[in-house]
């Protein structure tokens, strides 16, 4: 059964959707969508390093994305530059460096489209293990820090005053995002991972009136996008990432008719 690439892709997609739902909600709540993009852009450098030094691609993406995340946290404390400017700075510098290094590696055959948009054909059993094991760790850590993370999302100072450690949970959350990007890049591609993170959550927001409900609906939205998206990408022969994200967009548009504007 694991020989069938479509089946492997489905298992991988389910694993990713289970993680993007809860993590994506926090990305939306904390206004971090652009931050997701920054981490994803820096993943290109991770991919290139992985090819040049022949190390595991997820590991190398995780290392580079975490590094960029930590540099960001550091810069936030040392400069007065606005958040979006800092993100733009990091996002494009890591992208530029990645492309520059790629230029030196012209002798290597390298499928950049697969990295940008995801490639279901490339998902092997090893990747499945990385996705599910990594995903389980991410969800477990998120469950551990849920309360302080949520409290500091609602009000940072209130959480800190009442004995939580928002700075630490923020840093942990950032690392979790980097880890998610590392495990999902093969499937969704680095250009579209932010879409996978926030679109099901945006849909879920339209249908929910409390945080837990929004998380559950985000997961369901993500799963639906993966099921329908993968089937469509197989039938009409398109890249998996764009197809999944397009399905998510369609779900979002459908959810607009049920929007709870009142809240």
């Amino acid at each position: 059964m694991f020989d069938d690439f479509l089946f492997r892709a489905l298992i991988a997609g389910i694993g990713i959707a289970l993680v993007t739902g809860p993590l994506g909600c926090f990305v939306v709540w904390r206004r971090l969508s652009f931050f997701g993009d920054t981490l994803a852009h820096s993943a290109l450098l991770g991919v290139i390093l992985s090819i040049s030094f022949d190390i595991n691609i997820s590991l190398s993406i995780f290392a580079v994305s975490s590094l960029v995340a930590l540099i960001l946290l550091r810069l936030q404390n040392t400069t007065n530059l606005a958040g979006d400017a800092l993100l733009g700075l990091l996002s494009h510098s890591s992208l530029a460096i990645g492309l520059l290094v790629l230029g030196f590696l012209s002798f290597i055959r390298f499928d950049i489209m697969g990295v940008l948009f995801g490639d279901i054909l490339s998902v092997n059993v090893n990747d499945l293990i990385i996705i599910w094991a990594g995903g389980a760790i991410i969800l477990f850590v998120l469950w551990l820090i849920w309360k302080p993370l949520f409290a500091s999302t609602v009000n940072y100072e209130l959480a800190e005053a009442e004995g939580m450690n928002p700075k630490r949970v923020n840093a942990i959350f950032t690392i979790l995002l980097a880890a998610l990007i590392a495990i999902s890049i093969k499937m969704v591609g680095l250009l579209l991972i932010t879409g996978m993170l926030i679109i099901p959550c945006a849909m879920a927001r339209n249908l929910s009136n409390n945080p837990k409900q929004m998380v559950v609906l985000s997961i369901i939205g993500g799963l639906l996008s993966v099921f329908v998206g993968l089937y469509a990408s197989f039938e009409i022969n398109t890249s998996s990432g764009p197809t999944i994200v397009t399905v998510a967009i369609i779900l979002f548009i459908l959810s607009l008719s049920r929007i709870r504007k009142k809240y």
């Binding site: 206004r31 999302t153 100072e157 209130l158 945080p211």
Partner: protein, 249 residues
């Protein structure tokens, strides 16, 4: 001297930020069962002082000792983004685990039990303040820091809530640090007043502060009368240092 009832001791504290002192040379003690009120004009450093006491700033002058971890905080402003759907009942357990009964009791005390399942964004300003206060008292803290807790609450509600705050300090024996602009209502319930204007301009019992020259300059002669008026309602006698000599019932 170490006081068993001491909860927070702020010694000669100050905060220097962006080229100026937001507040400087603050000394204050918060003890169990007592209400300390910070008054002062806008920009005089009231909120900054409260945050210093809470330990929210890292680079302060002076020292802050906190002898309790059971702290509740009602910030001056809490804004909830539309993207974040939070009901009152979710908000109540934000930093604490509570039983249903405890949630109901606290909401009942501030008069907003009927709003339990409403989304925070549906509440009016006054209702939201009542929810903030309910959340803060629900976990029965040792220290309660209230930054303008009754803003936007109607007048009768304001009197009620101040009476509630007074009652909480007595029943829970918790120390309260209160920031308020409503001199006339607050003073009747306060044990100790710190008048700020970038520094501690004066401090002491409401009566002592009301008669202070700097206080009169800051708030005008009229408010001094206002403050002393309420002294008549006090049920105890102070010595010259502001210590309570005896409860005169």
């Amino acid at each position: 001297m170490i006081d068993n009832d001491l909860l927070v001791k702020v010694s000669d504290a100050g905060l220097y930020k962006d080229g100026k002192w937001l507040v400087k040379g603050v000394n204050l003690n918060i003890t169990k069962g007592k209400i300390v009120t910070l008054i002062g004009p806008n920009g005089s450093g009231k909120t900054t002082t409260a945050k210093i006491a809470l330990g929210l700033y890292k680079n302060i002058e002076g020292t802050v000792e906190r002898l309790t971890n059971k702290i509740s905080y009602v910030p001056q402003k809490v804004s909830i983004d539309w993207t974040l759907p939070v009901r009152v009942i979710d908000f109540m357990v934000l930093t604490q685990d509570l039983r249903d009964q405890e949630i109901n009791d606290a909401l009942n005390l501030t008069g907003v039990e009927h709003l339990k399942n409403n989304n925070l964004r549906e509440l009016s300003g006054g209702e939201f303040q009542r929810v903030l206060l309910a959340r803060a008292i629900a976990k029965k803290p040792d220290l309660l820091v209230l930054d303008e807790p009754v803003q936007g609450v109607d007048f009768t509600g304001e009197v009620e809530l101040y009476a509630l705050i007074k009652k909480i300090s007595e029943t829970l024996q918790c120390g309260i640090l209160l920031i308020s602009h409503d001199l006339h209502v607050v003073m009747s319930a306060t044990d100790y007043v710190v008048c700020l204007n970038g520094h501690v301009c004066c401090s002491g019992t409401p009566l002592a502060v009301a008669q202070n020259k700097e206080y009169k300059e800051l708030f005008g002669e009229k408010s001094s009368h206002l403050l002393s008026l309420y002294e008549h309602e006090h049920d105890h006698v102070h010595d010259s240092d502001g210590n309570i000599i005896k409860e005169a019932k």
